[in-house]
């Protein structure tokens, strides 16, 4: 199969466009009432995004799907600073890990003293598809303001065997059942035209 490269999409004028993948630590400053919306499809290596929301009404949405196989080691850091009041951030991360891959996700939300009325949400969920795969999630919330909304959640576990059995009991074979469930798990974060890549990945590694 062809090599699956990491893909980063950034919203410009209402459309997502591919940009070179941020290899090293990348600082993004969002000013005015702009919104930084990005989607990352991550197969290998590191991702390190530092996002500063500089002005009132600035916002960011970071959606990331990681797919880890073989002995890949993935390190993902998404660090958002609400440097102005009334700024919004959202981090949605979904991951699949198989073989003996190791994933570390570090999601940071910083709300200093002047960040009143800010909203920050972070949600990370991962499915482990082998005995040896490892996923570690480290949510960090650094909150100094007293009038903010902030949430984080993380869930890591195997696929529910009862779901597989239920699908099999309707005539669907195990492999198709896995594909349906895993596609459903990540599909809403990835634009349709890129879902062929996740399907490729599943066909290769599951």
């Amino acid at each position: 199969m062809k090599n699956l490269n990491n893909i980063c999409l950034i919203k410009k004028n209402g459309h997502f466009e591919t940009v070179p993948y941020p290899r090293n630590e990348t600082v993004i400053n969002v000013s005015g009432s702009d919104s930084f919306d990005c989607i990352c499809l991550h197969f290998s290596g590191d991702l390190n995004l530092k996002i500063n929301l500089l002005d009132k009404k600035a916002s960011c949405k970071v959606h990331c799907v990681y797919l880890a196989a073989r002995n890949e080691q993935l390190n993902l850091t998404i660090d958002v600073t609400h440097a102005a009041p009334d700024t919004h951030s959202e981090q949605l991360i979904r991951g699949l890990a198989t073989d003996s891959s190791v994933v570390s996700f570090n999601g940071v939300i910083r709300m200093p003293y002047n960040s009143q009325k800010c909203i920050g949400n972070q949600n990370h969920r991962a499915i482990l598809l082998s005995e040896k795969a490892r996923v570690q999630a480290i949510p960090e919330l650094e909150i100094f303001a007293d009038d903010v909304q902030c949430s984080h959640g993380s869930a890591i576990g195997p696929l529910d065997k009862n779901q597989i059995f239920y699908m099999q009991s309707r005539g669907i074979d195990k492999k198709t059942a896995y594909h349906l469930l895993l596609n459903a798990f990540i599909a809403d974060l990835i634009p349709e035209e890129y879902q062929v890549l996740t399907t490729d990945w599943m066909n290769t590694y599951l």
């Binding site: 059995f165 239920y166 005539g171 798990f185």
Partner: protein
Amino acid sequence: MAFLEIKDLCVSVENKSILNGFSLTINTGEVHVIMGPNGSGKSTLANVLAGHPAYQVTQGSIYFKGKDLLQMSPDERANNGVFLAFQHPTELPGVSTALFLKTALNAKRKYLGEKPIDAVQYMKRLKTRSQALNVTDEMLKRPVNVGFSGGEKKKTETFQMAFLEPDFCILDEMDSGLDVDALKVVSDGINVLREPHRSFLMITHFQRLLTYIEPDYIHIMVNGKIVKSGDKTLAAYVEDKGYEEFK
């Protein structure tokens, strides 16, 4: 050749023995009911028939239409015509009921060497079966069983059964948690499917389901085997006297 022949079946879960020499023969077109106290192994029987991996068959045999059912994977059993309507249907987040049923139907067609169903035929079949069971378009778009009420889950189980048209329907406590109206809808849905080539095994605690669906045989199950069989009058007898004398 019997439609279904279970002989001397012994089953355990995590080394705990649940079925102890269970035998039952069902012929084509018959409706059998299994009643019994809690923990007598009724749901275990249903799950074993469908091929749940958590149950270990330690002895005995199950032949379905002459084939060794125990040698088949759960999906092979389904594609051969076995259907289990679950007592507690599993939720499938993100998988719409419509996509789920299309995948299931095409899996069966592929197994039988047929082409996938075309979109028009599929929609027609979906509409006909869903309307009969008050399953709305909105429910078909929702992920399978996610956020469904108890009644909606039982209705969609019945609907899935009607849609997939299996030969052997196992109904595990389809009446539990249903109000009178929903019970009527579900029972009607089951009755419509009663045909000479199709057989039913219904597990229930209550006689009330049997006021809507008339069974051919009733079996009382205690400690993992059938202790008494009879016609529908047996249900009324149990309702009146309880299971004590069978234990």
